[in-house]
Symmetry: C2
Subunit: 212 residues, 2 copies
């Protein structure tokens, strides 16, 4: 039977996994809201971010409390410090999904993204959701090998991000400035979301191996 | 005379203050590089970010080592955890200044920012430098009151950020898409830089008062 201290450590891990699920779902819904001009879904994503923020606050308070009361060493210390960093990444991923929801809301009933760019954005969204989901599985399974294998998805997001700029700039497309602003911002939000997901996975490698 | 442990804690504080100076200077130079199309200065900013990254790595290693070896409680524990968070903000501020340098380099010998938007960008840069500098002074003086007083500058940055979009969208300006992309990105970088500076200051309030 595990003692209270280790139960609390476990519950921090469970909260991190729960947060990966919430931000993956938020990004998925934000993408749908953006591409389908779905105001109700956009509002849901925007309001839902509070749940991620609350989990982060609880997790951080619990982690700081464990640090102060238990004076953990070695592996447990690394677990707690790493958890604080992961929760910071995950909170930011929630913010970025919310930002995408806000762009969708701002342009409703229009779509902020022109139809011919939907495929690129949809794919960036899909990859972001996949990265967040994998980050959760990686935390759950302490899976160092899987964490090291996320570069492919991350590179794919970066390539799509560059392609988005290329499409915006492509001669003859003549997009309005408003579209250029919106697509530049949402492209950046997806790219940062993916970066933070990869960062969560990399921190798991540090947690398990002690190597940066 | 202070013992080695407290000397190491002091040196973490000194490193944080040094980092605020470096990122303030980097943003100042990045703004000059951007507005004056100064390729050499842009390269200097881009290369200089490695120094910030190195300070961050050293600081984090030292902080984790102190946590593990000294098992600090209460105030010292809060100092170390807060320092890890501040170093993360400051490292990101360095990245953002570097990103601005990269936009300057990408468009050289042209300027990424049209002449009539220079004043807004210059002012965002000035406010960012001021916020970073004040964050350093606030850490140095443990100045909770000053930390609480940064909202004015931060609101001014947000207002300039909105104004930038308004100028881009203003009827009759007819900016090319490339300009819209560049200005949208650099505007975002300045805004995030300011956010992180305010975050550093807020963390000081937590450090001193224990209140979030």
């Amino acid at each position: 039977m595990r003692d209270l201290y280790h139960e609390e450590l476990d519950s921090i891990g469970a909260t991190l996994i729960e947060m990966t699920g919430l931000v993956a779902s938020a990004l998925n819904q934000a993408t749908d809201a953006l591409l389908n001009s779905d105001l109700q879904l956009a509002e849901k994503v925007i309001a839902g971010d509070e749940e991620v923020d609350a989990l982060r606050r609880d997790l951080d308070a619990k982690a700081l409390d464990l640090l102060a009361r238990q004076q953990p060493v070695a592996g447990d210390l690394r677990t707690i410090v790493t958890s604080l960093r992961m929760s910071s990444d995950l909170e930011r991923m929630g913010d970025l999904a919310k930002h995408i929801g806000k762009v969708a809301r701002l342009r409703y009933p229009d779509s902020a993204v022109p139809a011919e760019l939907h495929d690129s954005i949809r794919e960036m969204g899909r990859l972001g959701v996949e990265l967040a989901t994998k980050a959760g599985e990686i935390i759950d399974g302490q899976d160092v090998e899987a964490a090291r294998g996320l570069d492919e998805e991350d590179n794919a997001v970066d390539a799509l991000h560059r392609q988005l700029f290329a499409e915006l700039l492509h001669e003859g497309n003549e997009y309005p400035v408003e579209t250029a602003i919106d697509v530049t911002l949402v492209g950046r939000y997806y790219e940062r979301f993916a970066d933070h997901a990869v960062s969560v996975a990399r921190r798991l490698v540090f947690l398990v191996t002690g190597e940066n």
